[in-house]
Subunit: 365 residues, 3 copies
């Protein structure tokens, strides 16, 4: 790991972000930065960041060499005074920190190219000379592995499948026949891309399988968390667009389309043939019904079941509030009787005069 | 892939269905069929089907060579007129289509038999000469692999386990010791059959493990989706009967019994010792409590938690409706106060006369 | 398996439990015990147990050689009379049974030590001579495998990772770089320990990855169920303390800490940076929000979403009750209108006199 000054790091982040992230350094510009650490435990040589103005006090007491933060927090804390640590003031402090952290601890890449003796690469597969394939990995007939890609131990690339340049399949990730992963993707251990979708025709109380002959097409810069599954389409393809981020144990059914830059937290299930827009955020363990459509920029709370299409951007929720078990038992029982409660309320409303009494007037004013 | 006429395909489907699926062809009987495609994108040589009368109009505009549909839809669309495309009229159009699709694009089977040099087959295992075992697959001592079965790369067959004839274990599916999979089963990548059930006795704030010494017994014609898990029994066995279809990321606890031809959608969890009847349908992400019993022909909505036994067939649901977050916050808060609301309603009912006013009479009639 | 008398087994259980579990034998002390079985199906040579006083009648009719049960049940059933089967009376019958079952059917351990020719062990890895590593397993550079540990077929131990003594990684369990598993742990097939946490900074509608540089540290005597995932920390570590039991398909996010002896049932999701206390019990498919804290001795019902911190031990629930679909449709629709219902109730309360009528007095007394 290179040791840099804060000023050098600021230049690097500006460059990594394509000039998007400017920052203003306050305090010592030549302080040395070696690694990142949380504000509370950071020591010398460490870069930290202030995620939330509420914890502003920690910036004063931190031993970190430098702290990335919003300019308003910097002003509030030190005004024109000399700060107690180097401040990197940036209107997007978290993104600045992310780039800096990437530079300081780059995601581990294949350190050397080549196919392990212990791997199984089919004669008719095409593996770029700069790619790496580890022991017990399989690259099947007609598959392609792009430049700088890394197929880790036991990962599986099926017949006719392709892995884009600089993408990484962690140990025992599986990309089944004819499916495609774009460039710079990260596919974590245990992922299954391209298993059969769940399609059966009922007949006389039994199920007749519909062959699942579509593919899964994954764009560029997609990350897929451990043990997540994305099914191949029934006839058409399942599509995950560029920049989508998928957490662990997510299930995406056949023929779904996930719009670019959407983020899907852990344990989410999306049933088949559903279309999710761009830049959506699906909270953990949310459940999305099949054959519906969710527009761009929708945020869904964790644990919420989305049972019909959403046409307006916004924040949607639906979760039974938790409580002490004895309170839940009594309140939940009444959920079964809401229709009766409303009926009793209706009858009461009919029994009493429409005109409010004196008290009621107060309400009206 | 063979190229057939519609008439030839109709004969094949009749045969595949054991004579169950008759059809009536209208229009050109000798039109050539090569593959299947969705109604909207199908071109020449393609067979499509009409899933829902609502989309009937697409049959008129489709370029598909032939369309399977219900005779009533055929009548409604063309009556006695010559149809614009060949119609395959059948009272079970989806099942007809499923068989046809299977014939036109048969589920890929092992193209050649034999054990890969890179596989590990124990000397005391028995692999049928017509079976296929791919690289990095393991077949352990005492295990059996039946005729025509296919153990794909990295799949694991434990000691004493058995795989029935023509069954397929996808890459890295795992069948642990002593468990059995019947004939014509499909076990997708990442499945774990036979991990220990979750059984512990509490003692002084710690947990003492109950050895899980039962097996998992899977019937014939079962399909198990990617990364699903079925635990072995504690003392008795966990049983999945014939024809059950299980989607991805489903968890079935120890000592469960799943009745024949039941379908379980993705992300369902079934806790231990629960008995599910025959021909049930469990919606995605539904949760089934342990030690309960669900009778035959029960349908459960996605996301519903079943917390006690069900003795009557039917359709059951229980899902908090989703809404705009601000509406949810206000309404969900009241769920915690339903008991109070009812009490206030009760008190009101006591304060006003039992006899309804004039308006109330209207309600009674 | 050794054949023992009930009296010998009682001595063994006392010893296994460190003297904690005493028992009183009633009936034949020298009856032979070979294995365990459920009360209803047990035959000669079998040890069974009575889990629930409700099934007490089964003790009278069982053919089991011996039955473990609570002394009160023993008294109630036979008083001073000679029992029809040997009774093992113990105030912790289930724990007694668990130890006995462990002795009679010990969890299968590596029967012989050594590294399979088909395994890949890096030259710079350290595998204890008494450990066992099976075919297609990987032990990477700098990794350590302790005494008596068993790395089964296809399991993966990353660079710098360590597996404690007598721990077992089932086939295709994965322990990624630098993560640690303590002593006597059981890691089931398909588990992923140490995949990247889900951390991204938003910037202009895209996501910038935060490198996940922490580790996962697992204590002693931890069990982790099939296909569960535990993410590595972002900067600090994710920690699972001693004696924690985790069922299948559980997801634990980055930087969580799970307190000692907590039990987590199947399909639970715990979002990042959450702290769970000691001896908690999380029911199946419960969902725990990120960045919250749950104190010791909290029990959460299955399917419940915990959306804020819990500071008091106890039993918490929050689950929409299920019902017939048509009833659900009508009642659930009203959940969306609870605020309106309360408003109508308020208005009614204002319209009628504060003083209760005669009936109301009855309520007050």
């Amino acid at each position: 790991v290179a040791v840099l000054t804060a000023a050098e790091l600021a230049d690097i982040v500006r460059e990594m972000s394509g000039g998007r992230l400017d920052s203003e350094l306050r305090g010592r510009r030549d302080v040395k930065i070696e690694a990142v650490a949380p504000l509370s435990s950071a020591g010398p040589g460490r870069l930290s960041f202030l995620a939330n103005s509420r914890y502003r006090g920690q910036v004063v007491s931190t031993r970190a060499a430098a702290v990335v933060l919003d300019p308003r927090d910097a002003d509030e804390l030190f005004g024109d005074a000399e700060p107690s640590t180097t401040l990197v003031a940036c209107t997007e402090p978290y993104a600045w920190f992310a780039y800096a952290a990437q530079h300081l601890a780059p995601p581990s890449r294949a350190t050397s190219a080549g196919v392990s003796d212990g791997a199984h690469v089919h004669l008719e597969a095409r593996v770029d000379a700069s790619a790496r394939v580890d022991e017990f990995a399989v690259v099947s007939a007609g598959a392609q592995v792009g430049a700088g890609a890394w197929i880790q131990a036991g990962a599986y690339v099926g017949a006719g499948a392709s892995v884009g340049e600089r993408s990484r399949l962690y140990p025992q990730a599986r990309l089944l026949d004819d499916c495609r992963v774009g460039a710079r993707c990260i596919v974590h251990s245990g992922v299954v891309i391209g298993a059969d979708g769940f399609g059966f025709a009922p007949l006389d109380g039994r199920w007749i399988k519909i062959p699942q002959t579509g593919r899964v097409l994954i764009g560029d810069d997609v990350e897929i968390g451990a043990n997540s599954t994305i099914d191949r389409g029934a006839m058409d393809d399942t599509v995950v667009e560029d920049g989508v981020k998928i957490d662990n144990q997510v299930q995406i059914g056949h023929n779904c389309r996930i719009g670019a830059h959407t983020a899907i937290a852990g344990c989410v299930g999306i049933a088949g043939s559903t279309v999710i827009g761009r830049r959506c955020q699906l909270g953990g363990a949310s459940m999305i019904q099949g054959h519906i459509s969710i527009c761009d920029d929708v945020v869904v709370s964790g644990g919420t079941a989305i049972t019909h299409s959403i046409a307006a951007p916004g924040f949607y929720s639906g979760l039974f509030p938790f409580m002490r078990n004895r309170d839940w038992e009594r309140n939940a029982a009444l959920v079964r009787h809401l229709v009766e409660l409303r009926e009793r309320l209706r009858r009461l409303e009919m029994r009493i005069p429409e005109q409010p009494t004196g008290n009621g007037n107060a309400l009206k004013t």
